[in-house]
Every structure is written in C-alpha cells, then in structure tokens.
C-alpha cells in the first residue's frame, strides 16, 4: 500500500497560520495502516493545533475521518460540514489531498503528511519501499526484486562496481539489489535471465497516468471523452 509519514507540527502550523477555522481530515485507507493519517492521528493533530490556538476565542479546530479520500463517494460526507471552515488539512496521501482539493476548489487544502512510497509492511511500524510504479514491470526476469526501486542507480544490467559486503555503496544498510537478484536467480537455476543484455527501456511513467478498464470504457467514452 501507499506509505506516508506525518509532517512536523511546525511545518503544518506554518502552513495554516492565516487561518482560524481549520478542519483536519483523516483517511481510513493506506495512511491509517501505516499510522500516519488515520483517525487516531487526525485526532492527535487536531488536539495539538487546538491547543496552539487556545487563546483565540474565534478559532475553530475540528477533525473528521472518512473512509478513503481517493473516492468521491466517501468525500461526499464532507459536503454539509465544509462551509464552517476556512481551510482544510488533509492527512491522506497525495492522491487523497488532491481529490479533496478538487471537490472543494474554493477552500485552501494543505497536506499534513509526506507520501513516501508504495511498499510493504515488514511489521507494525516498519515499512519498506518496493515499487516505483514505473509502469513496465520486469520482476519476472529479476527473481522478484525490482531493479528500478531496489537498485540505487536503477540499473538493468547491474551490479555496478560499488557493492561492499553485499551492500550498496550508498548505504551500508541497503542490500545491493543486483547481488540479491543474482543469488536468487542462481538458486532457481535461472541465471540466463540476466545473461543477455537488457535493452534500453521506454519509460512509461513520464506523464500523468490514467487507466480506463476495458469493460467500463463504454460508460465514459462516446465519440469524444466524457470523463
């Protein structure tokens, strides 16, 4: 899932300095799971913001959490409550913040977390990046280890000359992805995957993406685009 990390309180406060009626909106999706932007975090952030504005009797700081901010059906719940506020803080991932801002374009919307990556949960509170959403997956060739994400240089014909004790030259705690790929392919008897030169790729993630599932295409597209 998407993993994010809460922004510092100082940074958030500096963003909303001109505003006195702020709604913090949490998200029950990915950011809840990685403990960055769920109901608990929304409540905790709001308590701190409210405390900072304690001297201001006109200030209004509230929090609410919706199921997911990346779907309009769940953002609908906010329609009747929004008019009370002059700014929103969304602690959803970047996608959620933007969808919220799209639904309420006349209200300033501020991000309360830094969206970090698509990754896995190693254990509670421990998350690791795994995918850079390059749009052209080659995991089958590299024994399930992503060269784009896990190799610091994104090499397709690695490793480079830098690994030290099985680790990337950049960080002694980062394993060299290509050593790991080599060892796993060797164990599976599939070294031929990397014997040939992997050709130059056409990067697929260089413009804002869009997906229209085939079965639903007719719903949105007539002669021109309707979406």
């Amino acid at each position: 899932m998407i993993k994010a990390v809460a922004k510092s309180l100082e940074e958030i406060k500096s963003m909303i300095t001109p505003y006195r009626r702020v709604l913090t909106i949490g998200c029950g999706g990915c950011v809840s799971q990685c403990l960055a932007g769920g109901q608990k975090e929304a409540r905790a952030l709001n308590i701190k913001l409210r405390a900072s504005a304690a001297s201001d009797s006109d200030a209004l700081f509230d929090d609410i959490t919706v199921e997911r901010q990346c779907e309009q059906q769940f953002l609908k719940e906010l329609d009747n409550r929004i008019s009370t506020y002059d700014a929103l803080i969304s602690i959803a991932c970047g996608a959620g913040v933007q969808f919220l801002a799209e639904r309420f374009p006349n209200l300033p919307v501020f991000p309360g977390v830094n969206t970090q990556f698509v990754g896995i949960t190693r254990d509670i509170g421990w998350y690791e990046e795994r995918c850079k959403t390059c749009g052209d997956c080659v995991l089958g060739l590299t024994a399930g280890i992503c060269p784009v994400t896990m190799c610091s240089k994104g090499l397709f014909n690695g490793p480079c000359g830098g690994p030290q004790d099985g680790h990337c030259e950049v960080d002694p705690d980062t394993p060299c992805a290509w050593i790991a790929i080599y060892e796993r392919l060797q164990a599976q008897g599939r070294l031929d995957s990397i014997a040939e030169i992997h050709p130059t790729r056409n990067w697929q993630n260089q413009v804002p993406g869009r997906i229209l599932v085939e079965e639903y295409r007719a719903r949105y597209v007539e002669n021109g685009e309707k979406t």
Binding site: G28, S32, Q33, Q39, K40, T65, V66, E67, I124
Partner: protein, 137 residues
C-alpha cells in the same frame, strides 16, 4: 483506540445520523431476501471457509441492521463488539454483488462512520504473526 467502556455514547448524534440516512438504508435492509449471492462475491467469505460471519448480508444486518432496529438503544460495549464485523470482516473493496441492487458497501461505510463519530476507530490486522488477533480491542 482503546475502548473506554465507561464513556457514554452520544446517542443523539447517532440517532441523527441514522435518521438522515433512513430512507436509503431502510430499503437496503428490508430488501434482503437471504439469497446469499453476495456471499459468493466476497473474497473474504471464500478465504474463511464460508464462515457465515463473512457474508456481506450478515455483516450489515448484524451491524447497521441492529443499529436501526434498536433505534440507537445500545451500549458502547455492544457497539464496540460490532466493530469487527465492519472492519476485520470487511475491507470495503466494493466488489460485493446483490441481485436486488442493495448497496452493501454504503451500509458498511455508514456503520464505520457512526462508529468513528462515537470514537471507535478502525480495527486493522497489525500483527503479522496472527492476522486474526485484534490488537485494538
């Protein structure tokens, strides 16, 4: 969030939310014929060896359905015990299918909203070793 069972529910707020959505939801709740087609479309039902507590119809009838039938006369503990039905037993993937057009995800989402409003937060399988354990009870 830990459940402070002594904390009273905000019954007024709950009733108001239930009332606001009554028209839509009562139709949803009454129309269920128990055909169990929704169960076949739920991957969690499949994954849990067809445990009836994972049937979408069961989930909503025993959570939102109860909230409506009791008209909000419910204790925090009872409400808290329902949390598992709409959080652990459902990921709101939205794939459940009903031939009568009952909007099951909407019911689950509404139940979650009511619970949040009452300070009951989501139950997520945090611990890797035992996905069935509820660490947030």
């Amino acid at each position: 969030m830990d459940c402070n069972h002594a904390e009273p529910l905000n019954v007024t707020a709950m009733r108001e939310t239930l009332q606001q959505n009554k028209k839509r939801m009562s139709l949803n709740l009454k129309a269920c014929a128990g055909c169990s087609l929704c169960a076949e479309s739920c991957f969690l039902f499949e994954l849990h060896n067809h445990d009836p507590q994972y049937m979408p119809s069961y989930k909503v009838l025993h959570s939102l359905g109860k909230l409506y039938s009791k008209r909000g006369h419910i204790t925090r503990t009872q409400l808290h015990d329902m949390a598992g039905l709409v959080w652990r037993n459902c990921v709101l993937c939205g794939r459940c299918y009903c031939p009568f057009g009952i909007d099951i995800p909407a019911m689950i989402a509404l139940t979650r909203r009511i619970m949040r409003e009452q300070n009951i937060a989501g139950v997520y399988p945090y611990s890797l070793g035992a996905p069935e354990e509820e660490t947030n009870d």
